[in-house]
């Protein structure tokens, strides 16, 4: 009996290992398809980004209306805002693949690029739009900070819905360890998160409600 008993234990191990292995492979394929989807979006966004950069450069040479540049910035910001939301969902559900982290970092870099570009655009077209940069820590373990960030995200989301056409909303996770981003936050003397920077001059560390933001936007 003991001999056959041992056999069934090994057989079960073999069957389990096989099923488990295929499950993991299937899971990886599933997650990779999501990574591919994000990467496809990223490629399109990257082209738009280059387009905006080109537009910026052309503007220095020729007299182009601010309206085009501002609208291009807003449209682009809106698009990557939506893509980032999808990415965060996928990333939260991504358990095996580490590729989401890389995609997240790429998007953070792109948004940093957009932030830098929006500063340039803002200098040229001061009255054309408002920029709202939201800096947060994605991987924080502090429950209070997580809760604060949840509420701030909602307030900013509501604000965007209300006055979307005039606001460039750029949420950036600061824990991506990007040199360019670190340099920019240092320029603004930011050491604690979350933080909202309005029109590249007001650094808000305490946010009681959406009205506070609106007041700054109207200045």
């Amino acid at each position: 009996m003991l001999k056959s008993a041992k056999n069934v234990f090994w057989e079960a191990l073999l069957v389990t290992a096989t099923v488990f292995f295929f499950g993991i492979i299937l899971g990886m394929a599933f997650e990779n398809s999501r990574v591919d989807k994000i990467n496809d979006y990223y490629t399109i966004s990257e082209i738009s980004m280059m387009d905006i950069l080109a537009l910026n450069d052309i503007m220095q040479m020729e007299n182009i209306s601010c309206e085009n540049l501002v609208q291009a910035n807003i449209d682009f910001a809106d698009r990557i805002y939506e893509e980032a939301k999808l990415l965060e969902k996928y990333e939260a559900a991504g358990k095996i693949s580490d590729d989401f982290k890389l995609a997240h970092k790429k998007y953070d870099l792109m948004r940093t690029f957009l932030w830098a570009n929006s500063i340039k655009t803002f200098d040229k077209c001061k009255n054309g739009f408002n920029s709202v940069v939201y800096l947060y820590e994605y991987e924080t373990e502090d429950l209070g900070q997580k809760a604060t960030q949840n509420v701030w995200s909602k307030i900013l989301g509501d604000l965007k819905e209300e006055v979307g056409g005039q606001v460039i909303l750029i949420p950036i996770a600061v824990d991506s360890d990007l040199v360019s981003l670190n340099l920019m936050t240092r320029d603004f003397n930011i050491s604690e998160y979350p933080v909202v920077i309005i029109n590249n001059k007001h650094v808000i560390t305490e946010l009681s409600n959406a009205e506070t933001l609106k007041a700054y936007l109207q200045e």
Binding site: A5, F9, E11, F20, A93, K154, I155
Partner: protein, 411 residues
């Protein structure tokens, strides 16, 4: 990969392995599930009924045993543990009515343990086989004869029966009825790999020689039946499970009774693990499977509960802080983006395991059809799986505390 994901995957692997193991054992032995080995030798048997304050039920238990169709049943010994009610008088009355067939004995003083009454009653047994049944258990009249044939194998030291729940009125009783059936089915499967880990109190029969080699039931262990089984296995005896030997018992009817019973079972389980820790990876299937299976099940259940509690507390705290701040900031407490329904690989694995577990339970229940009772409906089975089983790890944790607390006292 996050450490939490690794933990979940390890859990998934172990759960999948155990399920696969049971399914394979079943597939390899499905024709033998209800085997009744022919009785080659008419062994003489005595049944001991440990009894304490059981005046309402003891008579019926004796009557039930008297109806047994096994001709080798020579004596029924009621071992009264100094009951304060009329139990002993009733047993004496049956002794007079059935001279030689029924014997009533009384412990010199109350032992406070079923093991005490069992061991005392065992002193009066003169047959090759000795059986025990609880004072509120009802073995079917063919139960004993369906068990005896297993003793054809001289290595078999004990045979246990299938315990079923008699009372099935409230949710707790119905859940236990389901649980007992699944346990019996699983125990039968474990029997095919020499890994039966308990010979139950409601009806188990032992070779007297083997019983005496183990010095009877342990007086210090809260689950003397588990301890005796491990002792027998450690001594090289085989334990068999007779699925066709049915015995009905009264399950706890209130949560308090149920909780106390499970606490006793689990503290006893811990005592047994501690007593046999030196047999780990030794003594055949006891050390190779039974003890590791017990220990791993305990560790996984307790760690799993702590992990889930940590996750839930953390989630509730975040939700609470977010809600408080949302009210203060006059923004929506809940929005569509909070309802994240993006499936992950862990959800797929979890769902697959739940379906497999559910299927296994259905298989076990399908193998336990009873003519006298209605079939369990889907809600009862789901209630058992989702509510009843979920409460169990909490009992394990309390048992560990009680065991540690009790151990100091016992020392």
């Amino acid at each position: 990969m996050e450490w939490l994901t690794v933990v979940y995957l390890v859990y998934t692997f172990i759960a999948l392995y155990i399920l696969t193991l049971f399914v394979l054992i079943y597939l390899q032995n499905k024709d033998r599930m209800y085997e009744i080995p022919p009785i080659k030798k008419q062994y003489k048997l005595s049944i001991v009924i440990p009894c304490f304050n059981a005046e309402k039920v003891i008579g019926e238990t004796i009557e039930t045993l008297l109806k047994s169709n096994y001709p080798g049943l020579k004596q029924i010994i009621v071992s009264d543990d100094c009951s304060t009610d009329n139990s002993y008088k009733i047993a004496k009355m049956y002794e007079k009515r059935y001279p030689g067939k029924v014997k009533a004995v009384r412990t010199p003083k109350n032992t406070g343990r079923a093991a005490g009454a069992k061991n005392y009653g065992a002193r009066f047994v003169r047959t090759e086989l000795i059986g025990f049944t609880d004072d509120d258990s009802r073995p079917r009249n063919d139960a004993i004869s369906n068990m005896i044939g297993f003793f054809n194998d001289s290595q078999v030291g004990g045979v246990t029966s299938r315990v079923l729940v008699q009372n099935r009125n409230n949710f707790l009783e119905k859940s236990q009825a389901i649980e007992y059936k699944i346990i019996s089915f699983t125990r039968k499967l474990l029997g095919f790999v020499d890994s039966v880990y308990v010979t139950n109190g409601p009806l188990s029969i032992y070779r007297k020689k083997a019983f005496e080699e183990c010095c009877g039931f342990s007086m210090t262990n809260w689950t003397e039946d588990i301890e005796l089984t491990w002792h027998l296995v450690a001594k090289g005896y085989k334990i068999r499970m007779a699925l066709s030997a049915k015995v009905y018992t009264i399950a706890p009817t209130t949560f308090k009774q149920w909780f106390r019973q499970r606490l006793r079972w689990n503290v006893g389980g811990l005592q047994t693990i501690n007593a046999y820790k030196s047999a780990f990876f030794r003594c055949g299937m006891l050390g190779l499977f039974i003890i590791p299976f017990f220990v791993v099940s305990w560790a996984l259940a307790i760690f799993g509960l702590l992990l889930i509690t940590y996750r839930i507390v953390r989630m509730v705290l975040i939700k609470y802080l977010t809600a408080s701040y949302s009210i203060e900031a006059q923004t929506a407490i809940l929005s569509m983006s909070d309802l994240d329904l993006t499936p992950s690989i862990l959800i797929f694995f979890g769902t697959a395991l739940f379906i497999l577990g559910f299927t296994y339970n259905l298989l076990a229940l399908a193998y336990s059809k009873e003519q006298d009772f209605k079939k369990h409906n889907l809600f009862q089975i789901l209630g058992y799986m989702i509510l009843y089983l979920t409460a169990y790890p909490a009992i394990l944790i309390i048992s560990v505390f009680n065991y540690i607390k009790g151990k100091k006292t016992w020392n």
